[in-house]
């Protein structure tokens, strides 16, 4: 299985990845910006590979039914999770997500909120790790200009940081690179 996977990964122009398990992409469906990024990511993977899941309605079984999970999270106020993530957290904390891989993307504004840039990514990373999941999709902090973030480990973001307010032109490329990276890192 592994050899086949490696062989297939050479064909990185293909949209359908035979060996990769289906991805559940959880995000707040009442959001605008996060929702638009979620849709772009789904397209980049190939729509058939990704299920969009509304986190406002998500419950235990929804998380348990995917081995590859992507979560999209904005950061609210001075470093908080938006309501729809915050309110599902007690449920998340009671799950067992061992063996699952989670990739996190988040939106932030480097200029107006430099002290807690994409903190939401960091908070969710901690939450998912605490119930056994493995975080994938780390990216470089180069190319961003901020003061502090809860989403950093060893000079990397523990996910993908999108800044629509200040670096909107970089969004599409950032998504593209990340998706390519995840194709290798996901199961």
């Amino acid at each position: 299985m592994k050899l086949l996977k490696n062989y297939l990964n050479f064909n990185n122009n293909k949209n359908t990845i035979y060996a990769m398990k289906k991805i559940g992409l959880f995000y707040g469906t009442t959001t605008t910006k996060t929702a638009s990024i979620a849709k772009k990511i789904k397209e980049a993977f190939g729509s058939e590979n990704v299920d969009l899941v509304s986190v406002e309605d998500a419950w235990k079984k929804d998380f348990e039914s995917y081995d590859n999970i992507i979560v999209g999270v904005a950061t609210w106020f001075d470093g908080e999770l938006p309501n729809h993530w915050d309110e599902v957290r007690p449920e998340l904390e009671a799950l067992n997500l061992k063996g699952k891989k989670v990739a996190i993307f988040g939106l932030g504004d480097q200029v107006r909120y430099p002290e807690n840039f994409v903190d939401g990514i960091g908070i969710l990373a901690e939450t998912f790790e605490s119930v056994g999941a493995k975080i994938v999709g780390f990216t470089s902090i180069d190319g961003y200009n901020f003061e502090m973030s809860r989403a950093i480990r060893d000079h990397k973001f523990v996910g993908l940081a999108i800044d629509k307010e200040n670096q909107s032109k970089l969004t599409n490329d950032r998504i593209k690179s990340w998706v390519e990276q995840l194709k290798k890192e996901f199961d």
Binding site: W76, F77, D78, G79, E80, N83, D86, E87, P90, E91, A94, Y113, E115, N116, E126, M148, R150
Partner: protein, 687 residues
Amino acid sequence: MPNLTQNRKTDMKKYDIKTTDKETLKNWYHLMTLGRAIDEKAPAYLLQSLGWSYHAPYAGHDGIQLAVGQAFTKGEDFMFPYYRDMLTVLSAGLTAEELILNGISKATDPASGGRHMSNHFAKPEWHIENVSSATGNHDLHAVGVARAIKYYEKKGVAITSHGESAMSEGYVFEAINGASKEELPVIFVIQDNGYGISVPKKDQTANRKAVDNYSGIKNLRIMYCNGKDVFDSMNAMAEAREYAIANQKPVLMHANCVRIGSHSNSDKHTLYRDENELKYVKEADPLHKFRRMLLRYKRFTEEELQAIEAEVKKEVSAANKKALAAPDPDPKSIFDFVIPEPYKPEKYVAGTHNEEGEKKNLVTAINETLKAEFRHNPDTFLWGQDVANKDKGGVFNVSKGMQQEFGEKRIFNAPIAEDFIVGTANGMSRFDPKIRVVIEGAEFADYFWPAMEQFVECTHDYWRSNGQFSPNITLRLASGGYIGGGIYHSQNIEAALATLPGCRIVYPSFADDAAGLLRTSLRSEGLTVFLEPKALYNSVDAATVVPEDFEVPFGKARVRRPGKDLSLFTYGNTTLLSLSVAERLAKEDWDVEVIDLRSLVPLDKETIFESVKKTSKALIVHEDKVFAGLGGEIAAIIGSEMFQYLDAPVQRVGSTFTPVGFNPILEKAVLPNVDKIYEAAKKLLEF
């Protein structure tokens, strides 16, 4: 920036949506729904001209306010809420009716009987304290009361709460610095809603969270919580209280809130907040969030929640009815509780004596009286700048030997923070009415001004709380010139302070009067400003015999030299000068009556009038400037109430209307002296 998880022990979580018992959740939901109902109803009272002309809506602060109220432990803790803390006090135990009584300023409002502005909730008997409208200044009171909690080894905390923008005030720094230095059990709760009225918090300070400015302060624990989340706030406050008590150290609690409404009813926030922002903050409504969680995690059904909401409607309606029917304050009551009843001497009723023996100078008299009173009353405390360092006791050694005898917990140095010195005296008084605090308000009266905002608080706390709380403070200040001290070591400030109702002002000229007035002050409730003419500290002429138990009542002047031709009223440094002028005039066959007022507020009008009746001529002599000096007030009183007895206009002698120059030549030109007094007296005598 400290990370949330580094600062909070997650294994200390007491409350969460899944495990907290249903009764507790119900209690919280009830309080939050009730609070919000009143918060939303408040503007209606104003529209119907029933009152509540000041209302600061709290929607968006619900989590932390509930938590502060729940953490408050009656009988142990002291709470200092601010003008937005409606849910806080409700959560702490006030009733809906009590909130409305305060809103519409009824006579039975537990905070102040309608005397203080609406929406400043309090219940002093439970130590939910009455606080100012000057935002954030109650932090100093919290620190003062915490000092008492620690001294008396009681279990409890002082909790003080206000917004993030108030942290720009210097006195907030003084309070946090003091609490950290003294290691006191205080929880400073900062309800950060991003605005100071219309000013966004980025205009206050560079750090996005103002509390981060304090990350370098030793002994201070900074905690962060989401003030919009009931569980996070409850867990944070529980942990903070436990920590503060166990470690006897202060906590600075930052709570992120949103301000869903305007700053107050006199602010229209749509003028500076757009639709998107208002939508964003409404989405973060803590009450709606809590409700969603209760349903999502199946702790309550929709029906059960609606039942609570229906109950709340009834509760508010009933409270409203009762509050509207409550009595309004009586206009005749305005003179109640301006200043507490003072200690009335029984042995030395007129504040005079005929004892003979060895004379003591002013410094010795004050020093010995302080010591005697500190032995007499163990609940006495003294602090100020420079008051206690080995053999030095104050810049003039007035407190010499006191720390050695009474220990450093009762006699100690304060930092160079005059506002802190006065504010913590106010706070400490709240712990127990038997406490008496002596403070050197500043090293010299000239440096007292930074303390004015706390001084104002102290003067009207008794009145504002409808007689429920009096700061019991003797505020000593070395005053006056004649020492070549110039602009910052010569000021007389009694006229500036006298304009504030609620304080007494005394200004002795002799050692015995100083001792007597000091004793009376220390045995009285209330605030007394004790001005000491520093030029006379070691003066032989001001030295007198001082009976060991001497007392001088407030409001009693002393005839130092009887006479019949002219009434000369004076106090402080000019008393001795006036007496010497009287002797000089006696040689010219003029008989001048010299009266040492001693007590300026209250003023001894009886003695003044007795004298004017006798002599028909009045001269007021004081060191302070003639223009706007207290002599003007006294002259006006004599002019309006004793006009028919006067044979000449009332005259005044005092300093020129200039600052006091440093060069002795300049000082001499500015201050009154025997020649200037002689000229004025002579002129009046010959009128």
